[in-house]
């Protein structure tokens, strides 16, 4: 396929994944491709990255798409056997023989295909132990071929195959095994520090191996079904588009990383908004005073700048299973920009409710505070199933008097009330006293008011119900708030 066609397909895919690629950037990329040979994959990748990706959070998405479109082409990516130097194969044969032990006599050749699963596991452990990159790559190929059970044309995503492969390799226990083996091998007792360092080293090697497996699976899928079809199924959402309620552990990690720069930028923007462009009525007294220096001519009119009070915020969050992640992110988000509010108080509930403001006061580390909220807050009243009605009632009883015309109340949750009594009069009462009451719902709009969700009943009494499924939506909501 000519490079030009490949590039336009590639850029179209970047755009549909959500990366903002402008026309000039597209042209720059074309220009860059002219001076960098396509054979040098790494340089080629960085050249495209430098011209097309202008935000580091988008890099991973870019990398995946790049791999699908470019890395998998060309003769060096033959699936069956690749052009490895001969001595590599010889060495591998040696290792295979060693793993099999001398009892069976001579290794019969035939490369890796003849290995039993146990032998593969043993070889993997050796490779991880010594950090042998080439061997790890070869083993990744082998294990995908053997364990993933891929069938041509079967419309299953890569995650399924990844799961099957990794399950067979039992990587979870691998770390422990590696540590044990390492302890045996070293002749003196390792100090805690040394152990920790070894563990991190092994951990990173295992991660690397997982990446190899993942990319091998992608390679096979693309070979089977073609780049265009695969790019679509492999598409990963940008961190700000990941849904809170369905984020995987990796995605959670990238969400957390994306959260802080986002809050910092938001805080800067809000502070600027507060400073900028507010001009009040003429300050007569000030103008006259300044006119004295111009001989009584009011040449320099002065204005009164309004200083809008910062809102007081009360966050009331459901932290039961399904929506816990959402509550956690919202709390982190709100506390990260708490200097934009005059006061932040937070409450969490399941069927009982507890104030958790003190956790955030005692530490500067918001992440730790949120962890404490999840473990220490007293939120179970009867059975530990969400009961919005009871929680709201208790909230109103205890803290209703603290709500005044400066307070903004944020209610977070999916309003799945397990068919308990709604007690929506509380929300109505809150709205009477507070400046604003908002409801943030992490569920997609189409799910609202289905099953036991009664968000409309509560929502009727608030100033607005907002869908808040990802960081982007959360950020845009919070920026209207402060």
């Amino acid at each position: 396929m000519p490079v030009l066609d490949l590039m336009s397909g590639f850029i179209a895919e970047l755009r549909s994944a959500g990366l903002p690629v402008s026309l000039t950037e597209n042209l720059d990329a074309m220009e860059a491709v002219k001076v960098i040979p396509i054979e040098d994959r790494d340089a080629f990748k960085y050249a495209l990255g430098a011209t097309l990706v202008k935000n580091n959070a988008h890099w991973r998405v870019f990398e995946t798409i790049f791999e699908v479109y470019f890395s998998l082409r060309g003769p060096e990516y033959e699936i069956t056997r690749e052009a490895q130097p001969d001595d590599f194969w010889r060495e591998m044969q040696d290792q295979i023989d060693q793993v099999r032990g001398q009892g069976e006599g001579k290794g019969s050749g035939g490369g890796m295909d003849s290995l039993t699963p146990e032998e593969i596991a043993a070889m993997l452990m050796r490779a991880l132990m010594s950090g042998d990159q080439a061997m790890m790559r070869a083993l990744a190929k082998q294990s995908v071929q053997r364990f993933a059970g891929m069938e041509p044309g079967r419309p299953v995503g890569g995650t399924y195959y990844l799961y099957r492969t990794l399950r067979n390799l039992d990587l979870d226990n691998m770390l422990q095994k590696l540590m044990d083996a390492n302890r045996e091998m070293s002749n003196h007792k390792l100090s805690a520090l040394e152990e920790r360092l070894e563990k991190d080293e092994f951990q990173s090697r295992i991660e690397q191996f997982k990446l190899e497996v993942e990319s091998e699976i992608r390679r096979r899928l693309v070979a089977d079904r073609g780049a265009e079809a695969m790019a679509k199924t492999l598409r990963k959402p940008l961190p700000e588009d990941v849904e809170f309620m369905h984020a995987s552990r990796d995605e959670m990690q990238s969400l957390k990383k994306a959260l802080y720069p986002l809050t910092r930028k938001l805080a800067a923007r809000l502070a600027r908004k507060r400073r900028h462009g507010r001009k009040g009525p003429l300050d007569f007294r000030n103008t006259v005073r300044h006119s004295l220096s111009y001989g009584g001519v009011p040449a320099d009119p002065k204005f009164r700048y309004p200083r809008p009070a910062k809102p007081e915020l009360m966050v009331v969050a459901d932290i039961s299973g399904s929506v816990a992640a959402f509550a956690r992110f919202t709390l982190m988000f709100v506390y990260a920009i708490q200097n934009q509010f005059s006061k932040v108080r937070s409450f969490v509930f399941i069927d009982g409710i507890d104030e958790v403001t003190k956790f955030f006061k005692s530490t500067e580390d918001v992440g730790e505070a949120v962890n404490r909220v999840n473990t220490e807050a007293d939120v179970v009243w009867v059975d530990g199933h969400s009961d919005y009605g009871h929680a709201f009632e208790v909230f109103f009883e205890r803290h209703g008097k603290d709500i005044n015309s400066k307070t903004t109340v944020l209610l977070l949750g999916d309003a799945r009330n397990n068919y308990h009594a709604a007690q929506s009069w509380v929300v109505k009462e809150l709205r009477k006293r507070a400046r604003h009451v908002y409801w943030l719902n992490p569920e997609p709009k189409s799910y609202w008011n289905t099953g036991d969700s009664i968000v409309a009943e509560y929502g009727a009494h608030t100033d607005g119900v907002y869908e808040c499924r990802n960081l982007r939506q959360l950020e845009s909501f919070v920026s209207t708030l402060a």
Partner: protein
């Protein structure tokens, strides 16, 4: 880029290929990875500025300095701050001198002569950006911490970044004699405008991986043993994996390595690590957390 090459005389490429950039930087004691070397090479070939982002202390500014040294060019630096304006960044009229000129012979010249005269090169004070494009000798322009200026001021940079020219109302447009290599650094405290990003190549410089960090220590700290460098790099990697307020930067790693050298330590044990942690980490909560994590293996 076609536009640029048409208007500004193109000097011959500075670098042969990516590998030569890498080797050249290494000679200046800057260890570049594939990405960094590749983008520097591209910047030269395409005649585009490079926007470097990344955490503090990962060698963003140093890259510009090293490239200047490598190519034997003069480094012109514009340090950005809130409130930077065009009289500090671009040019300013030397109005005292203009005043003197008018007073010196205020009856001999006609008005139009004086007018033409006082708005000429002689009365122009060049500031870093204008200086960079009018310079005869090769230059590297470094616009440091561009995220500190206000969004409105960013626009000042746009003309020079895309067309390598500066328009002065009284004089006309001044075009670059040669295309300088331009580096902009940003600590990412705010989102830069799309217009600025679009005109630049983007390079994200992150903390180096284990091997590269070790090499950096070996090259930057004289007489350090391979073993110690390895240990330092590994401890720093472990610390960076923790959830800290501020992860240790490369420069802090180097400070730590130098401290350990001064103390005459050649293998780090727990107590020494704990006692010198304050060089790597600058927040008390971070220090406490790291000390706890490093001594208790899970």
């Amino acid at each position: 880029m076609h536009g640029v090459t048409a208007r500004v005389k193109r000097v011959k490429p500075r670098f042969k290929d990516v590998a030569s950039v890498r080797a050249g930087l290494k000679k200046e004691k800057y260890l570049a990875d594939d990405g960094i070397a590749g983008v520097v090479y591209l910047a030269d070939r395409l005649g585009k500025p490079v926007l470097i982002e990344g955490p503090a202390g990962t060698g963003k500014t140093q890259l510009a300095k090293s490239v200047a040294e490598m190519t034997g060019a003069r480094l012109i630096r514009l340090q950005c701050y809130e409130g930077l304006d065009e009289s500090k960044a671009l040019y300013e009229w030397n109005y005292k001198k203009q005043l003197l000129r008018i007073q010196a012979d205020n009856n001999s010249d006609t008005w139009s002569e004086v007018h033409d005269d006082i708005f000429s090169d002689e009365f122009l004070l060049t500031r870093p950006l204008l200086e960079a494009i009018t310079s005869e000798e090769p230059v590297v322009l470094l616009v440091d911490e561009v995220d500190r200026v206000e969004v409105e001021t960013e626009a000042l940079l746009l003309e020079i970044l895309s067309d390598y020219q500066v328009s002065i109302p009284e004089l006309g447009t001044i075009t670059a004699r040669q295309i300088p290599l331009v580096f902009l650094t940003s600590n990412n405290t705010r989102e830069l405008s799309e217009a600025l990003k679009r005109r630049c190549l983007y390079l994200h410089v992150d903390y180096p991986d284990l091997e590269r960090e070790k090499e950096i220590i070996l090259i930057k700290v004289p007489d350090i043993s391979e073993n110690l460098a390895d240990q330092i790099a590994r401890i720093v990697r472990s610390i960076r994996q923790l959830d800290l307020k501020k992860s240790p930067s490369v420069s802090e790693t180097l400070d730590w390595a130098r401290t350990l050298m001064l103390l005459g330590i050649d293998t780090i044990d727990e107590t020494e690590a704990r006692e010198t942690l304050h060089i790597l980490l600058k927040y008390q909560t971070d220090i406490a957390k790291a000390a706890k994590e490093l001594s208790v293996s899970k």
